[in-house]
């Protein structure tokens, strides 16, 4: 006590002899949080090292989920890729693996993400544009041709039709002779953030969550090495949320999946170790690092203390990170290499398990091979040149970082209370709570940019008029025609009676409220298309209509 008072006195006399001298500038984080001119032991006086920070690999895991972190194993360098046909993307995968990438990550095109076939009118102009077009198992087989699924882990960014795509992945494994139990990888499969932020949905929220639980249950029983859900803050942030909202809303989603799985009768330790997270790493360096550290501690505390998970692996918040797409600028696009490098560094200092670095041209179009290579090299420079991997959590104990971490955790708990008062995440979605919070934050930030209270270099300051001059990857319209040809030929040559039978079985299973996974797998094996399977379930589960929250 006496000592603390002395420190306070010292601080006060230091402050008085060095009065604050600020430039005319808003000293707030990207999310608008006030930042003090200096942090000292006074700011973390309430923090207990053993209770709140601890050693890496030990509860509450603030400093990292593994004792040795990157000294033991580097993060997985996983570049999200996908465009054109399955053949085009397969070629890009082989290239990336040959360049030292250590895991695959599939980007699907919009029609696939919405459970729409390439020959549907709604898909017009979008086939293979922002990801790879997958209509049936036939495309999936080509996508993974020459890639041994027992050795390469694959992350698949898909949500509303995630159960269908998981079934396709299992079926490709079968063709390669790899049993489901051997498959490793991650399915994004986080439908709640679709209603909140990314807006690629098919079924109403409750039914969407039912399908997520189906995959959690199925993988718990048959695919012990596979991560069925990647609870994603990335898209919430991209939609304009603050760092705190990203943390709080995403973790609230995660807890909803836990609750729904428990309701299904699953044991917490049978599935919690397979849940993982996916965060955004934005440009405000310390705010991001604090977010990652707070997320780890929150999840550990909630799983252990609130849910009573016994297996320490249930307490671990493993996460993938992607640098912030929205932080990139079309103006002076080369600057994006620098932004991405700093964001990637924050993710590494925050203890990520895997990382995607954006390419400098992604704000303009799909990345070119050259731009992807620079993005991958950025990770390699951080891993092999900077030395930040030599010690675990090098920023642990920094007054500012610890104080920010605590603030993040407290802010998230406050949001949890509000969400609970509303009646939970589903009610919050129906009432537009999250949507409005995010739209408000996005609007506020846009204002700050336009009033130049926040700066984006090359956009509202340090502008030059040079035309944007970097190569752009263009998707040949022929891709769409070729994909449609392939699909229509498939529909002619497959056993259509078998397709119809298996689709009817999917529908019946959905109507009986049974786990649809085994039935989807049968349909996939019969080469039913993604839209046929989606529609079969939609007939029973209904479809979602978005409420307008502007």
């Amino acid at each position: 006590m006496l000592k603390d008072r002395t420190l306070e006195d010292d601080y006060r006399s230091w402050r008085e002899s060095h009065p604050p001298h600020n430039r005319d500038w808003d000293f707030t984080t990207l999310s608008g949080e006030e930042i003090a001119p200096l942090y000292s032991p006074l700011d973390i006086a309430d923090e207990s090292y053993t209770r709140d920070v601890g050693f890496p690999g030990q509860f509450p895991y603030t400093r990292g989920i593994y004792a040795n972190m990157y000294r033991g194993r580097l993060w997985t360098m996983r570049q999200f890729a996908g465009f054109g046909t399955a053949r085009d993307t397969n070629r890009r995968f082989h290239y990336l693996l040959s360049q030292g990438m250590t895991g695959l990550s599939v980007a699907f095109d919009n029609p696939t993400l919405m459970g729409v076939d390439s020959d549907d009118l709604r898909a017009l102009g979008e086939v293979g544009r922002t990801g790879v077009a997958i209509d049936s198992l036939a495309d999936m087989e080509v996508l993974f041709e020459g890639i041994p699924l027992d050795r390469v882990s694959t992350s698949m960014t898909i949500n509303a039709p995630a159960a269908i795509v998981l079934a396709m992945y299992v079926a490709v494994g079968e063709k390669q002779g790899v049993p489901a139990g051997q498959l490793t990888g991650t399915l994004q499969n986080d439908i709640l953030k679709e209603y909140i932020a990314q807006k690629e949905w098919i079924y109403p929220p409750r039914q969407g969550v039912k399908l997520v639980v189906d995959t959690i249950e199925y993988t718990a029983q048959h695919m012990p090495k596979y991560h069925p859900v990647s609870i994603s803050g990335y898209h919430i942030r991209e939609a304009g949320s603050t760092a705190l909202q990203e943390l709080a809303f995403t973790m609230a989603d995660g807890l909803s999946y836990v609750d729904a799985s428990l309701e299904r009768g699953l044991d917490i330790d049978s599935f919690a170790p397979r849940l993982s997270y996916f965060w955004n790493s934005h440009i405000d360096f310390f705010e991001e690092i604090a977010k990652f550290r707070a997320a780890r501690r929150l999840w550990a505390r909630l799983l252990k203390e609130k849910y009573g998970a016994k297996n320490p692996r249930s307490w671990l918040m493993r996460f993938h990170t992607q640098t912030a797409g929205v932080s990139l600028t079309a103006q002076q696009p080369e600057n994006n290499i620098v932004r991405t490098a700093l964001e990637a560094l924050a993710a590494v200092l925050g203890g990520t398990q895997s990382l995607h670095t954006n390419s400098m041209d992604e704000v303009l179009a799909l990345p070119t091979e050259k731009a992807v290579e620079i993005a991958l090299r950025t990770q390699q420079i951080i891993a092999y040149e900077t030395g930040v991997v030599n010690t675990v959590d090098p920023l642990g104990g920094a007054y500012f970082v610890e104080a920010m971490t605590n603030r993040m955790e407290e802010g998230a708990l406050e949001y949890f209370r509000r969400i609970e008062e509303l009646g939970g995440v589903l009610v919050g979605i129906e009432a537009g709570f999250f949507q409005r919070e995010i739209a408000d934050a996005a609007f506020r930030y846009q204002r700050e940019l336009e009033e130049r209270r926040k700066v984006m270099v090359g956009v509202n300051d340090f502008v030059n008029d040079q035309p944007i001059d970097i190569p752009i990857l263009k998707i040949d319209p022929e891709v769409e025609r070729e994909q449609i040809r392939r699909l229509q030929e498939l529909k002619r040559t497959r056993d259509n009676d078998r397709v119809d039978r298996t689709l009817a079985a999917v529908r019946d299973a959905a109507a009986r409220d049974e786990n649809v996974m085994p039935y989807l797998l049968e349909s996939v094996r019969a080469y039913a298309t993604i839209q046929e399977m989606s529609d079969a379930m939609k007939a029973v589960l209904g479809s979602y209509r978005e409420p307008a929250f502007v």
Partner: protein
């Protein structure tokens, strides 16, 4: 009599769900005193044009971030012509490369805003280009 106000239809066409931009712009136009009619996500060109006609808007603001701009913008222009509604101004925004942008403007898209555009810039553009035309050439008797 109530003051004639600009009516703008803000729409998302195609399958992408990125609505951050369209919502920010909708709010900015509202704050500038306009009536904004929002159609929501995942609309077909047919739905957008029909809504524009029924709502008798002065302009359509279309947001596309899916790469389908070279398909969707021309289709909407074509449908506007079919509905004898060419006087409804079509503008838009999204991730659109420079040469596509020039091509779309040649086809008749009045203006395109790319990432980084200020909402105030968009508001000003609407005031100058849509407002002027609406004031001078409205077919409504008044």
């Amino acid at each position: 009599m109530s003051e004639p106000r600009l009516r703008i239809l803000m729409a998302k066409a195609g399958l992408d769900g990125h609505d951050r931009g369209v919502k920010v712009v909708a709010r900015a136009l509202r704050d500038a005193g306009m009536e904004v009619i929002y159609t929501g996500l995942h609309q077909t060109p047919e739905q957008v044009v029909r809504a524009a006609v029924d709502e008798d808007v002065d302009a359509i603001g279309l947001s596309i971030l899916s790469g389908a701009h070279m398909t969707i913008f021309p289709r909407i222009l074509e449908l506007l012509r079919e509905q004898e509604a060419e006087d409804i101004i079509l503008f838009g925004g999204g991730t659109i490369p420079e040469d596509d942008l020039q091509e779309l403007k040649r086809m008749g898209v009045a203006e395109l805003f790319t990432p980084g555009a200020y909402t105030q810039e968009i508001v000003e553009w609407v005031r100058e280009n849509v407002g002027e035309k609406a004031a001078g050439g409205s077919a409504a008797p008044s």
